[in-house]
């Protein structure tokens, strides 16, 4: 085939060179060199005369051969560099994406627990390592989440002391320690158990690790600030409640005590008519004190979560009757009407708590409605609920108070003297503890409607009985 070609063997050698260059741009160095050598041999064998046999290469040929090899190496090097550049570019992009992803995940985690979980999960994935997070709790470092690596709090503290620089990873044995230090105070340490040797962590990886650590530290710092703000708000609220409570309770306690004292002092030198009046005053003051103490006790039981309902079958007729008996002495100016259908079922509740809730509502209605008003109790069933409605035809509650009527120590503007604003919050707490609830609505014609409910429960039939 060589004889058919009119060309000299030298230009043909250039074609081989072209092929070597093309191949070297696409393949790693060793392929490029093999291609160069193969090309040289093939060229020599086929084209250099005598054709189809190995000829001694002259100076021209040697030069061309050298060029083959040199081009191959050069081309491959170039390709390798470009590829590495691209690879590191991709790596950087990937890391930036991961950081963004991490930042987003952390920004969605609000509770400390979520932040901790997200952190450990993400760092596990990002560094294909097993990671553990130790957080500072003011006294020292505590393990929070992650793998139970074979290191303890003491080791981390020691490492932290040795290497206090924020975010820069510190390698020791197979662990990388990262100090999460954002605002001058260390929030904790992230420990990664890495599979590859520390020396293989390049600068770029270390920078990435710093970026990750900074994000985590930021999230922890944000959570800490939020917690503190929340705590301060809570504290302010409880401080306010405390003040209101102290003021109103001391007022509520001192008024009847003052009455009792005065009455006791005046009794010895009073005629029959005046002692009657004084006795009545004493009784009223006593009832007031009794009610206040009972309410404070119930409220503290509700708030401390110590109020546990004792569920039992209750006959609402009994409950309403007991309420009527306890308000009867003060009922002279109000009418109490109870409507319980003949076949109204028993309800599964804590009879005592239910009675206390209804009593509080009836008592409230009597205190805050003008004389001559009526209070109506209505038992009802609807769907999965049974309950009782306490309805009065008084003025109802102001619109802005009606919203948080069940919060403790809130009182309507028109509530008048006496009372600390505990009654309705107690009612709510009592119903919640019975897995029910309390709702308030305005009556269409003015007046207040309080609806108490508990879940309905069917009861099993009674054993047979002979007549």
């Amino acid at each position: 085939m060589g004889q058919a070609l009119p060309l000299d063997y030298r230009p043909l050698g250039h074609l081989y060179l072209l092929a070597v260059i093309v191949i070297s741009l696409r393949t790693p160095l060793r392929y490029a060199i093999s291609t160069a050598l193969l090309s040289a041999i093939a060229w020599d064998y086929i084209f250099i005369p005598p054709k189809m046999s190995f000829a001694v290469v002259d100076l021209d040929g040697s030069l061309l051969l050298g060029t083959y090899l040199f081009s191959a190496v050069l081309g491959s090097q170039l390709t390798a560099r470009i590829q590495e550049e691209r690879h590191s570019q991709e790596n950087r992009e990937q890391q930036a994406r991961s950081l963004l992803d991490l930042a987003e995940a952390l920004s969605q985690a609000h509770a400390l627990e979520d932040i901790v979980k997200t952190t450990v999960k993400k760092t596990d994935d990002l560094f294909s390592a097993r990671s553990a997070l130790f957080l500072s709790d003011g006294k020292g470092l505590r393990w929070q989440a992650g793998s139970s690596l074979d290191i303890d709090e003491k080791t981390s503290v020691a490492v932290l002391r040795e290497h206090p620089f924020a975010f820069a990873p510190y390698f020791r044995e197979q662990y990388a320690y990262v100090n999460l230090n954002s605002s001058g105070e260390s929030a904790g340490v992230l420990v990664l158990m890495i599979r590859k040797p520390p020396s293989s962590f390049r600068t770029i990886d270390q920078a990435f690790m710093q970026g990750v650590a900074a994000q985590i530290a930021l999230a922890l710092e944000r959570e800490r600030v939020q917690r503190q703000t929340h705590r301060e708000a809570l504290f302010a609220e409880s401080e306010k409640m405390h003040r209101v409570l102290l003021n109103s309770v001391s007022h509520e306690l001192k008024t009847p005590l003052a009455v009792l004292r005065t009455a006791a002092e005046k009794l010895p030198n009073s005629d029959a008519a005046r002692s009657d009046v004084l006795h009545r005053e004493i009784r009223v003051a006593m009832t007031r004190l009794d009610g206040l103490v009972a309410n404070l006790l119930t409220q503290s039981r509700i708030q401390s979560g110590r109020l546990e309902a004792e569920f039992d079958w209750c006959d609402l007729r009994d409950v309403v009757f007991a309420v009527r008996r306890s308000v009867e002495p003060f009922l002279s100016q109000h009418t109490l009407i109870a409507e319980i259908p003949e076949n109204f079922p028993f309800v599964f509740a804590d009879c005592h708590l239910l009675q206390e809730a209804i009593y509080n509502l009836v008592n409230n209605a009597m205190r805050h409605t003008p004389p001559g008003s009526r209070v109506r109790l209505k038992a009802w069933e609807s769907g999965e609920r049974v309950g009782i409605t306490v309805e009065d035809n008084g003025p109802g509650l102001e619109a802005d108070y009606a919203r948080d009527v069940f919060l403790p120590f809130r009182r309507g503007k028109a509530a008048g003297a006496g009372g600390v604003g505990l009654g309705l919050s107690i009612v709510h707490g009592l119903m919640l503890s019975q897995r029910g609830g309390a709702e308030y609505t305005h009556a269409p014609g003015g007046g207040a409607i309080f609806k108490l409910w508990i879940p309905r429960k069917p009861f099993e039939p009674l054993p047979p009985d002979e007549s």
């Binding site: 009794d290 006790l297 119930t298 054993p463 009985d465």
Partner: protein, 231 residues
């Protein structure tokens, strides 16, 4: 009540409560003995043989409940418990252990004397075959009941419940006690049985079932039968 037939022991650690109770009881001619702790109280019961014991549940040292548990092993003396708010559980325990009734502090003296009278009545066993309360007549041996001279039909269980009430009149009966007596130990949680039968008894025997006078409910604790009999 006269001094001989009514000797009352007060066991309470509060001196002021004892003094005021003494005043109240002496006004109705009771003979009053005092003890400020459980051990002294128990030995006073042995020595003085009171007709009634008024016992504070929240005693220091030996608790009121311990006193009842001990006492009921050797004496039937009626016990009226004084307790404070939020002690429902202890109250029921004390009643199940054999206390006869309870009052929650602060209580009115009228209420106290009424409870004492009811317990006093209980001590006298039903001596005749016919038992009366309100306009109701109960023929115990023949298991027949009439109201305003008209025969009232009661089921077997209704009558048994009425019998329990009459036998323990004036006494605070816990759900547990009535349920186990009527339906056995397995019915202890089935308060709806009891609610149903009490509602039926009220509808058949009370003048006004919605505001009962005889069969009284004590929320979360049990029932008390208060007959208006003269005996």
């Amino acid at each position: 009540m006269n001094r001989d037939s009514h000797k009352v022991l007060i066991i309470d650690d509060e001196h002021q409560i004892r003094r005021l109770l003494r005043m109240t009881l002496e006004d109705v001619d009771c003979c009053v003995i005092e003890a400020s702790d459980g051990e002294t109280g128990l030995s006073q019961i042995v020595v003085e043989q009171p007709n009634l014991v008024i016992l504070d549940l929240g005693l220091p040292g030996m608790s009121g409940l311990d006193v009842i548990n001990d006492l009921r092993r050797w004496s039937d003396t009626p016990v009226l418990i004084l307790s404070i708010f939020a002690e429902e559980k202890n109250k029921i325990e004390a009643l199940d252990a054999g206390a006869d009734d309870y009052l929650t502090k602060p209580f009115g003296t009228g209420e106290l004397l009424a409870r004492m009278r009811a317990l006093q009545r209980r001590i006298k066993a039903v001596s005749t075959n016919l038992y009366h309360f309100g306009s109701v007549e109960v023929d115990l041996p023949n298991r027949r009941v009439s109201k305003n001279k008209v025969l009232v039909k009661l089921t077997a269980t209704e009558f048994s419940l009425l019998e329990i009430f009459i036998a323990h009149r004036g006494k605070m009966l816990t759900h547990r006690f009535i349920l186990t007596t009527l339906w056995g130990a397995r019915a202890v949680m089935k308060t709806h049985y009891l609610r149903t039968y009490v509602l039926r008894l009220r509808r058949k025997l009370e003048e006004n079932p919605e505001t009962p006078k005889f069969f009284l409910t004590e929320s979360g604790i049990g029932y008390r039968f208060i007959p208006e009999d003269a005996s």
